[in-house]
Amino acid sequence: MTIAFDRQSAVPAHWELLPFRFHALDPTTTLLTNLVGEQVCVNPYQLTEIVDGTCTDEALLAELRAKHIIRGFGERTSAELLAMKLRTRMRRLPDSTGLHIFVVTLRCEHTCKYCQVSRQPTSGARYDMTVQHAERALDIVFRSPSPRLKIEFQGGEPLLNFAIIQHIVTAARARNVGPTRDLSFVIASNLALLSDEILDYCKREGIYLSTSLDGPPDLHTRNRPRPGNDSWQRTVDGIGSAQRALGVDHVSALMTTTEGSLGRVREIIDQYRSLGVLNIFLRPISPYGFALRRRGGGNYGVEAWLKFYEEGLDYIFELNAAGTLMVETYAVIIAKKMFSNEDPGYVDLTSPAGIGLSALVYNYDGAVYASDEGRMLAEMGDHTFRLGHLDTDTYEDIMLSDALLSPLEQSITTSAPMCSTCAFEPYCGSDPVFHHATMGDAVGVKPLSAFCQRNMGVFTLLLRKYRDDPGARAVLRKWAHR
């Protein structure tokens, strides 16, 4: 049978551009991203030819059509598919607010160098959250439309006010009626004060425990002094007890990076491995709280941190190839935005920003803040992100306050200078609190922003790994669909 028309006849004669952005990854490689962040790499000449309509590379044009960067003249399906993907990415936007942080006490027995909380010594109930404030805070929690509500207990050291934690858990469950939400609880604790009674309670109520683990003993203890200087041992023991009582998947650890961490990322990851914690979040140090005031361990640039991050990620890819399924949390968040249609809604990497919409903070004294970092700024005397107070303000007062709406409006990346034209925009977000703290306004000047530099560094790194390293590509793909 003769084939009626050949391959060439099926190729559309002309093409039209679909919305896309570009960024030079290096002098010979330009990244193109479509409306929902799908990527194609071309060289700079090809980019001009694509826009001019003079490109004759049929294989490239077919790839661009498949990736919704261009469409055949008059073809409609690509617009329909892009609309669908866009809708999927944005579908959780109406689901505010998912994370509610209760600062149940400011008391703490550690004196961590980088503490952002300006903790108070262990006695002194005036630094504890009252029952009345807890109940009013729950009013606001349940006014949020989100089908998933996570209540996170922080401090100071929240276990020093265990009674109010129990009260809040009971009260929250009682209020969780028609329509019931998916309600979860986390206690962010240094685990030094863990007792059998507390563990039993957590097990009964299905509560998650989260702790700080900065790395090997010397690093962890140096960062986190405590009377007796046994912070590392207490943490490790605490993780062990918690894992045994609650199960490995109910215990997580976060690390904080300090100058001392740089150059030791393999050791840090190995420390996590040895404790059976297979999730690590390689975070940068934030500029708030004691860290900024005392500059303790915060003195390094973005370049040094990126090197640290790349080394950590390479080690994690190595481990995965050898069968240890270690996961790096920041890369997971970005991989989802790069390689799937899901937006994980991570509070520090969304547009509009996560302030208020993703998280709210109820302080021990009844003040309500737009984010954890917003509260830390207040501890340093800057109340820009204080949205109101539980004694005087309702849900509407708080969510419609100018303190929230003004930075939120400015935080929409598609309207911000440079962000609006950035090829990485679908993967990125806003951090108005960071920019306010470091540059004095919610948007900042992107070429000078450490937030921007750091994120662009991570995006470039992940894309390079995805393109050049088949092993890393497979891992990133799996992470994108976790």
């Binding site: 391959r7 099926a10 059509r65 799937s340 793909r477």
Partner: protein, 381 residues
Amino acid sequence: MIVVNGRVVPHNLRTALPTDVWRVTDGSELDPPLPAAVLQRSTDGKVRLHLPNTRQGSEASAAGVVLDVPTSLDHVSVGDLIGISPDGTRLTVLWKASAQHNGLLLTERCDNYCIMCSQPPKVRDDDWLYERALQVIDLLPTSTPEVGLTGGEPTLNQDALLRLLTRLRDKLPNTEVHLLSNGRAFSKPDFSRRYAAVDHPGLMVGIPLYAPESSLHDFIVQAVGAFDETIRGILNLATLGQRIELRVVVQRQNVAVLARLADFVARNLPFVEQVALMGLEMTGFARSNSDEVWIDPVSYREELREATEILIDSQIRVRIYNHQLCVLDRALWPVAVRSISDWKAGYIDTCQSCALIEQCGGVFTTSGARVSKHLHALSAP
């Protein structure tokens, strides 16, 4: 390989048979209702079918019609459904009770013209095939696990198809119904709605998609605009909550973009229930276009592995059909299925000494000599 069509010799037949489709029984029922066909195997090895209720002539003692069944068709068994021509001379096995998969042919017309089509379309009025299918459905037990609906393009007669699907819903609500369609008719919202309204919980439509963009897909199916219609059809079905399988025939033309197709499905059509990656059946147009379509599966091991992994990592169910285990990357064996219909599955000499012959689906006997040059026996793992 099993033959399904053949000539039979009728005895005592004076008028046209009253019905087309017959149920093969074993004769243990005293007076079986129409349309039973009693299977008789005599000691001399001859196979006959006795149609007991077809009284011929006015004699009170007249026996029913008897058909002599040729050796090629002597695999006919109790529980099978057969079609007999009105004049009693041609027999088609429509349903084998012992087969894993049975398909009902609904039409040979098609609005695609795939360059590797193993069942080239015919332009003729064959609506009687729908009628015959209805009769088959009426005779199937409610315990039937699965019914395949094939063509040609079954949606070319929308009313007949919907009538058939409704009958399946009413008679066989617990049966999986696997409809094969190019999906283009579902680009019309009205038809999609009517299809969804049937509401058979076991109904899934298998739709071929050969490329991640229109130029290659349209070329392969030889129909300009097919890709767009198919995608729109898939989206409409998804909006209506219908179950969808995507079917990709892997061939020379699309091997190079297989991974990109997997990516396209993962990003744009992630709601599909599964993706079937299928090997060629080298008959029909596939045989005449062999130069354009044939590629030894061993040549695309890498591409197939990558495409499969992309789909698995994206949490989309994958199955590999029509590939022999010895030509597949070992990592893919867990998703390889024995998919070739019993009646056209075969093994070559080399296969007889293979440790995995039971697990492997073999080759298409219809492909003749156009199979991989690298088929080889595997030793026990």
